[in-house]
Symmetry: C3
Subunit: 343 residues, 3 copies
């Protein structure tokens, strides 16, 4: 038998400072946009209509921010998380420039932290991943950390290095796309009248709608981003015979549901953090709610920023953690992001 | 909790003569076409091949007529039918110009009729909806009426106004696309030899093929048109735990099945009426049959028109109503349209 | 009732030497590519990225070879296999030129063999099918033979003619796309380092990954190729109430899974033979393994050819036939093809 298949990397295979170039450039086209619209109840006008985007100062309607995220992320899976036990967190995510249909994205990841677990069987790997378009321009960067198994329990532990990560991307470091101008924002076309000034810190929004997830849908979405982790596709991979839904599918679903109440939170420009609080399986009926965590102005005309908690749940809105400080069993996702909103 | 989510309009929120601009312009691209081909067994040559369409005098292969209908219709859902109890009917639908890939459609609806029900809890709203492309050109208009709940049972009833609607779009009012010419029609490429002259009024056609519907498919189709009615997506929305399939999905499915026997009924140019006779759920195996109701000539070279009844059913062909004049329980759809056929 | 629906051809309807032009030209676009990526875990860099393809000497990233095959094949179904009892085999398949997004494919089939079965109820029909693009250039040809029912058992048997088919396309008859040059092949972007020289005849590769198939997925794929055989869509067509998965879906799935170990087997240029060993149904978890059957050089710079057996199975790898010489019940597909690999 051949040894040519990719066994994935184990904890002892990572070296601090190493830069891993991930495979398979993937162009994002109008076809991907149509599929996103079929897989998610997405209605954001800026990502639907060239004319709307042009009225906001952009050359065309960009590829959805989360599609960029998933595409960049998907490429890292064979090198970073094929043997991951858990996806532990995200930080310092920033979208650096919009990507437009036709862009061909590639990813690289730098190992910025390593810490072997005390049991000696696994360790935590921190990587800073950068997505670039075909011209080499960075369009996205984010840090993620995962727990990865060791191949050989006796392999020596690397020197522990835990990166110093910002708990929140500071508002002044947000990158507003060049030319973005919301002074002529078309509220009627966008679907809701609510401006930046209408949202208050602490305000909670129940997005009301819900979607019951099918196996075919989450697998199609996950394949679209060329994410190959076998737990998403192979019903025999887990002992319970269930296919784990890619966490990014839940992110995109919650984001799409958030249209109802946050239709004008047009662009996500930062990912401050995120937890996949509980696993999600087909058959679940997913709802979403948001909380305004912080408000900031930007230099761009008419453009404000809202820092939002976006929660996906199979339960009731506005319930997040129990008395023990742990996520309630219904909570699927707790995401912390910055979005751009017309002032 | 925020009041920013859209509760939908209730019966007392509509004013006669009011024009409602619906949100979120949506461009239709080649990606949408590919998805239509994946979701429906569509084989109409005019909607598949630019070369075929050009041989028929059009600049390119247009976006499928029903995709235009669903896109225009989908936009109206948040404003017209979010609190609808029932979709009661369609009339006076006409396609006014083909839409081509890249067209970005918007919708407006004028309230043309209101009638409160005698129980005081709901009322019927008639709207004339117009779909326009990005240049403002009208591509489709149709009347639909829905029964909508009242928010406040004590709200005063509006003056009753029932619009005078044509039972059938007269043949002389059909809009044949500019340049359409079927004199060089390529029957071999289209898949069937049957001409306008081969069809007789009263003729019934069993389209033979059948499709068993999956949840993932009807939800993907319905999202593609940005139709957000929650009964289609949320298994917890109905007491029986079933997701109601969007009636337009059944229309498109029946239309695609009708290829077998009506391959040359290339373009739908009018929607005379339609009833969603019974609800449809995933797992149903849907068949279709047609009846030729009327024939007409047009001014365009080689182009005739057939008025067709298109019926979708989970039962046997050619059975429609019982002795009591009501639709049989197997019948899902009874649609009355005009289609253009080579003479 | 109308006799306008297509009953399909029966065995006695075929004449030796007859050329059948199949209906409905179908353009392949970027939307079809996005759907392929959603339906299959496809990661081949040449079919994903224009830049990668251009670095290999091609003008752009071509349409996936198997998408071309399925599209050409799908058109033949209404004329060749609507009344087929079994799809018996393939031979002498060669891709003659790459097709690029926008190509509109048509198919013709020449009847090259006929043999009535001894029971007098059916017979075998051999056809050589050619797929052409909109300029008339041949892009694919292959022979397939099917067992077809007779309409009338008393119809006289045609003269038996069994075509003389090559068991394998000889390496010197492979058509390497014009301009293809793998001397600057980007192994890091492609995802694996293995070259032509790294593979040995007899080597077996377990592709490790697996996919559990859903009804919605195989139906969407099969519709995409406009394959209308009712057993794939209609749960009432078979006595067991199951929808038979189109054999081509299994081919594409196995091919996509083979990325893991054969990422550099970029282009399929010949189909030497193939057997759909057992039927496949939704719910099956499909795995794939390959065996290197033969190696050959080509005239193109840096381009070698591997003759590969590609097996899809729901069982263990490397098991194919029982002691009785028959396929094991877990085996779904046994395909024999030639692929181009960087030397």
């Amino acid at each position: 038998m051949s040894g040519k298949t990719n066994p994935g990397r184990f904890f002892e295979d990572y070296r601090l400072g190493e830069v891993i170039a991930h495979a398979v450039p993937r162009p994002l086209s109008g076809g991907d946009r149509a599929l996103s619209h079929a897989l998610y109840p997405a209605r954001g006008a800026l990502y639907s209509s060239d004319a709307f985007a042009q009225a906001c100062g952009l050359p065309a309607s960009p590829i959805d921010d989360l599609a960029v995220f998933h595409t960049v992320f998907g490429k890292t899976v064979p090198d970073i998380s094929l043997n991951a036990v858990a996806n532990l967190g995200y930080a310092e995510g920033r979208w650096l420039a919009p990507a437009y249909p036709g862009a061909s994205l590639t990813s690289t990841s730098e190992v910025i932290g390593l810490k072997e677990n005390s049991n000696g069987r696994s360790g935590v790997v921190w990587v800073r991943t950068t997505g670039r378009d075909e011209t080499g321009r960075a369009v996205l960067e984010y840090v993620r950390w995962v727990m990865v198994r060791k191949r050989n329990v006796d392999a020596p532990a690397p020197e522990t290095q835990i990166p110093d990560l910002a708990p929140v991307v500071p508002a002044e470091q947000l990158v507003v796309p060049e030319g973005l101008d919301f002074t002529g924002y078309q509220f009627a076309l966008a679907g809701e009248p609510h401006r930046w000034g209408d949202y208050a810190v602490g305000e909670q929004i129940d997005h009301v709608d819900a979607v019951t997830i099918e196996e075919a849908e989450h697998m199609m979405a996950t394949r679209l981003w060329q994410n190959t982790a076998k737990v998403h596709f192979d019903a025999t991979a887990r002992e319970d015979g269930r296919r784990l839904i890619y966490g990014g599918h839940v992110i995109s679903l919650a984001r799409a549901l958030s249209f109802n109440g946050l239709a004008n939170a047009q662009m996500i420009v930062a990912l401050n953090g995120g937890a996949h609080a509980n696993p999600c399986f087909a058959g679940s009926t997913v709802r979403a709610w948001s909380e305004v965590l912080e408000k900031a102005e930007t230099e761009a005309p008419g453009v404000g920023a809202l820092r939002l908690r976006l929660v996906a749940t199979t339960g009731a809105p506005f319930e997040l953690k129990g008395a023990d400080g742990r996520y309630l069993p219904d909570v699927l996702l707790d995401l912390d992001d910055w979005a751009l909103v017309p002032i």
